[in-house]
Amino acid sequence: MNDAKPGNLRPPALRVEDLRVGYSNGASAVTALEIDRLSVPGGALLAVTGPSGSGKSTLLYAIGGLLKPRRGRVLWGERDLLGESETARDRWRRHTVGFAFQDFHLLAELSPLQNVLLPASFERFAAPRAVRERAHALLDRLEVPQARASTSGLSRGEQQRVAIARALLFDPPVILADEPTASLDAKSGAVVIDILMQLSTRDGRTVIAVSHDQALLKRFASTVALDHGRMSGPEWRAAS
């Protein structure tokens, strides 16, 4: 795989400072996330865990630049994400961050290849040949059967692999995954965990996964635990 060149990706380090995310709950304002300081080195493999409603998905979307916190800073390298315009953040996200979700969010009416090429349609009318070839290569690497008109016939594990290929289309140095194994059986979950770990340990990407899947938590190098928006950790350890 030609994108497995850690040196070229150089994922920026992530620093979160004094982050407060809140939402209005009828009359009162509720603080969903309260993080004083979080540092994640480039190329790290980090799991974020915690019970439902603990704010772990909110943290993921905050560092992905998808929500506006009440205050605080999210720094990717020297880049202050929250100081940028929404348009600039969209572009940064497209090329820097690959997202994967619990429910994959594929367009079932499109083929696996078209799903992977979807992000290309955000900035071009037709995907250039090099991008198409890359999409094919990604699907090959993730062992997804390609000769299909739609993704609805794929297994759930295969669908998640299509979603990961889609996240990798622009070769982003950062992968953010929201419960990537929660709707998979143990066997396909293990394959997805392998892929996510490879993206970090082999390709050199920063991979941050929100999860409460013990299989994933056991194998990721470090874990941050959230409870009621407050953080404990991270505990760094060697990836298994």
Binding site: S57, T58, Y61, G64, L66, L67, E86, T87, D90, R91, R93, R94, H95, V97, F99, F101, H105, L107, A108, E109, L110, Q114, L117, L118, P119, S121, F122, E123, R124, F125, A126, R166, A167, F170
Partner: protein
């Protein structure tokens, strides 16, 4: 990003395929609403043009005082109905009018197999059809010229039935005249009710009804000049004046206590005003229908968009700019509006042609149902309206918070 090209069609296609039943219904709603508007305007225009064409050859009408509309219906559109007869003294004067190129009395009252038999002068038969398609104009009392679509054959000799209705079940009140007619010519198609008529010398009509024939007893020739002392009353006289000035002069001249004179074109304009009011009313109804359809469609699209909130949020997470989301929503509705309106145009034109053919079959008036500027304007308006209205849900989606949609279960 300025100058960035996006391609929302992947998402649009997937969405339309997923909700194809709903989108098909929306498209059909738009099509039907557009078709109603197109059919109304097309049909009204066709009716106006067709009826005006039918009155083309009837420059000035002189008749007994009464309803101009009744005369127009009876003389131009050959509708059965009784009109008062013009006083014989006036008939004599008008038929002898020197400023008229043609002064043609019209006499009704008989039919052959449902085709009305109309008595007049040879010159009018020729003028009406602009030359015959076969044979010649009648030259004797027992001769007839058939309209292009009249159900009699060239050379056929028949006895006319009295009255305006065909007596299909023979024997029940059927009265046949003893005199016979022979078809000696056929007119070219005129696209008017006269295509179904059989035109005969006015003298024949007078004679079979026991009236004086406009000539001396022993005289057998037909056509002008007539003996003013020997003409009976007639329902109407068509006058083709020599000049425009003469037309107005003659109209004034024959507005007398015993007669009225009018231009059928003017009478039709008054009819069209009524027709126009009806059209306006129907136009508003059609517009209201279209408005309702758009509102219904919008409500439906909004409902679908609620289902898609997460999908759009996911697209944003994958790096789609807000404009991309806007375009996805807008394109979906635009596709419905454009396809629906174009189908509606075809559907409306089809309905108009169908209705026109039915009217032609019933009245003989050829109605040219055509898609004109009015119809394009209507369809263009529907599309433009759809494209503008489409910005509302598009903007709503554009503004929607990504994170709320992503975390909402």
């Amino acid at each position: 990003m300025a100058g960035r090209v996006m391609n929302p069609f992947l998402v649009v296609r997937a969405t339309i395929v997923r909700h194809r039943g709903t989108y098909l219904l929306f498209t059909l709603l738009v099509a039907v609403a557009t078709a109603i508007g197109v059919a109304i305007t097309t049909q009204e225009a066709a009716l106006r043009i067709g009826s005006a064409r039918a009155a083309d050859k009837f420059d000035l009408m002189v008749a007994a005082p009464g309803s101009e509309t009744d005369i127009v219906l009876a003389a131009i559109y050959l509708r059965p109905g009784t009109v008062p007869l013009l006083d014989p003294s006036m008939v004599g004067k008008v038929l002898a009018e020197p400023r008229a190129k043609i002064s043609a009395p019209l006499g009704f009252g008989d039919n052959i197999r449902g085709s009305p038999i109309v008595g007049t002068v040879p010159a009018f038969a020729d003028y009406l059809s602009g030359g015959l398609s076969e044979g010649r104009v009648f030259a004797a009392e027992g001769e007839a010229v058939a309209g292009a679509a009249a159900g009699v054959a060239m050379g056929e000799t028949f006895r006319p039935d009295h009255g305006r209705n065909p007596f299909l079940d023979a024997g029940i009140g059927r009265v046949q005249h003893p005199q016979t007619l022979t078809v000696v010519g056929r007119m070219k198609p005129t696209g008017t009710p006269w295509d179904n008529s059989v035109i005969v010398p006015i003298e024949f009509v007078w004679r079979v009804h026991g009236l004086p024939t406009g000539h001396a007893e022993n005289e057998s020739r037909i056509g002008p000049p007539f003996d003013a002392a020997r003409v009976p009353g007639v329902p109407a006289i068509v006058v083709k004046p020599e000049t425009v000035n003469a037309a107005y002069g003659l109209r004034n001249l024959y507005r007398t206590p015993l007669s009225m004179a009018f231009f059928p074109a003017e009478a039709l304009v008054r009819l069209y005003e009524v027709l126009g009011d009806i059209r306006e009313l129907m136009g508003w109804l059609a517009l209201a229908t279209q408005g309702l359809v758009v509102v219904a469609m919008l409500a439906g699209v909004m409902a679908i968009l609620t289902l898609h909130r997460r999908q759009f949020a996911v697209l944003r997470a994958l790096g789609a700019p807000r404009l991309y989301i806007f375009l996805c929503v807008w394109t979906q509705i635009a596709v419905i509006a454009v396809i629906g309106a174009l189908i509606g145009l075809l559907l409306g034109a089809g309905v108009a042609v169908f209705v026109s053919q039915m009217i032609t079959r019933a009245t003989g008036i050829v109605l040219p149902a055509q898609i004109g500027p009015d119809e394009w304007l209507l369809v263009g308006g529907m599309i433009a309206f759809g494209l503008i209205v489409a910005t509302i849900p598009a903007f709503v989606s554009y503004r929607r918070s990504v994170i709320q949609s992503l975390t909402a279960q």
